[in-house]
Assembly symmetry: C2
């Protein structure tokens, strides 16, 4: 019987996670239908490759987490119009454009368990269709007509690009420290999460402090989300989810798990990380050895604890708002992001 | 003596072209100083690779033709503020972002006679720094605060991306006809020329018909400019300007000269174009043979005549405005764009 309790607890937790996503999806289902229509409608172009390629990525099973944050945040602040649906589509277009350009960047061969657009159509198409979606996002924002929303999302876009460049510069560089890593993920991931939530308060014309609280919620959720994403890259269980284990290792990406393991390593271990991550000399068995070192130094567990810190801050940012179904859903999604790694 | 007259005429014409550019530059020199300051100021980032790479391209001897069009158009419509300088910087940022992303696209090894940013820093950097400049352009526009300007430039950006994708799809495809070619260059080149001119009338709050006239001027100038650019790619004299002759040929790009030569070719000539442009089987001596076929079919001369048609329309668009130094400068720049091929 001693196995039953942890097993049930794990199952419960998994169910709770599935429920968190399902609950959020149900909460915003009507609005999301309009977002999806907008996305399909506005990715059209007489140049047929554009909807083909954009559709490939947009249809490939993404959770639509970022636009859902805009929709749920709008509900949280009591917004009753429809502007947030168009803006949620903008957020997804910006995210999709980033994914397309990331494909050029990291030559990843699997994303969400499917071929990347890049693998199917090539670098050039990924760059140009990304540009189209990005421009289209701005056209949608301009149609909405709020200069404040435009300011938030254009600023987020610049910051994302800065974060992507900075990440590229840290590849293979084991002198990258945790602060630099936090800068990178703050820019490349958390900026859009923050903007996605903040714009809800703007369209609802809520006071500055609610805007700030939603931005803080999004930012901290984004940081937790990205740390867990980087932990998951070394999580063998992910193979079953169609993700490749060790992509970051193969590409020499320096993420929190490897920063911690390197710092805590012996000289021999440091030499291993240098040979593999810095010099790109990766041999058979190296990934398994890397996983052993990550386990030995408790790097994955401690990275998850760091993520917990940001998750806690995200939860506290919600305390400004009255308890309601939207607040519960946004709180549960923090747990979902944190616990998908378990 | 029989050689003297044509020689002098050529020299005169060259001088006139140099003068057209110099005259335009002098006309807008004060404003351009502010544009350059804005460009340098706003391409800064704590991520040092961004100003390095952007500076490489921005400093690499471009004519700044597009922002000059915004500045001269603003003078033409009597605008006396400073908003046009920031918007001219936006136009240059959008253009520079496109060049960076083009580097990924066509793997051209020389642009303006220098190494491309791509050759120096790689595909990833070109994509991401392009994204940064593009986002920064939108931030500048948002600071300016005109939704009408934002609409014009975000729409132009989408159209440019569509044109670039469409151009990519026509590579190696000899069934590409002149109409398709005109669609491509209308999108990838003329849309930004049109927008650069049109926004001047918007900031000056001039009537709709002046806006339309400036958009038409820019659009037709852009079409003439791009046709001549494509003619120049097969002009051996360009070698002296640091440009490679036959880049388009090597890359299988289908431009107006090859469309005309292919249509007019014998079966044997058509087979030659198929082997080289479609199948990419390019052997020693093929470029020279291509140049012979272009000469034989008068494709370069006739493409230039097509450019003349758009140049004439650009000139006529200026007739709405009273004669003044700005109008003269804008008219002369049409001749400059047309005659740089001679």
């Amino acid at each position: 019987m001693s196995n039953v309790t942890p097993l049930r607890r794990t199952t419960d937790r998994q169910n709770k996670n599935v429920d968190a996503l399902t609950t959020l999806q149900s909460l915003v289902a009507d609005d999301m239908a309009l977002v999806n229509t907008t996305i399909l409608d506005r990715m059209q172009s007489p140049v047929s490759l554009i909807p083909q390629l954009a559709g490939h990525l947009i249809a490939s099973g993404g959770k639509r987490l970022r636009p859902m944050l805009t929709l749920a945040s709008s509900k949280l602040v009591g917004y009753e119009g429809k502007r947030h649906c168009k803006l949620a589509a903008c957020v997804e277009f910006i995210h999709t454009a980033t994914l397309l350009h990331d494909d050029v960047v990291d030559e990843s061969e699997l994303r969400r368990g499917k071929d990347t657009a890049n693998a199917v159509w090539g670098n050039q198409a990924s760059v140009l269709v990304g540009d189209f979606l990005f421009s289209r996002a701005f056209e949608l924002m301009v149609e909405d007509g709020s200069l404040k929303v435009l300011k938030i999302l254009s600023s987020a876009s610049s910051v994302i690009a800065e974060g992507e460049v900075q990440q590229m510069m840290t590849v293979a560089d084991l002198s990258t420290d945790e602060d630099t890593y936090m800068d990178v993920i703050g820019s490349k991931t958390a900026a859009l999460f923050a903007a996605a939530c903040q714009i809800a308060a703007v369209v609802a014309e809520r006071p500055e402090r609610e805007e700030a609280a939603l931005a803080s919620y999004g930012r901290n959720l984004g940081l937790a989300f990205q740390i867990i994403d980087d932990v998951l890259d070394y999580n063998a269980n992910q193979a079953s989810l169609g993700k490749t284990v060790g992509d970051d290792f193969q590409e020499g990406k320096i993420t929190l798990p490897t920063i911690l393991a390197f710092q805590r390593g012996t000289d021999i271990e440091k030499a291993f990380w240098k040979r593999t991550l810095s010099e790109g000399d990766i041999r058979e068995g190296d990934l398994d050895h890397a996983l052993d070192l990550l386990a030995k130094s408790n790097a994955l567990g401690d990275a998850t604890r760091r993520a917990q810190y940001f998750a806690d801050k995200a939860m506290d940012s919600l305390s400004l708002f009255k308890a309601c179904a939207s607040r519960d859903a946004l709180a549960d999604i923090v747990h979902f992001c944190l616990q998908r790694g378990h």
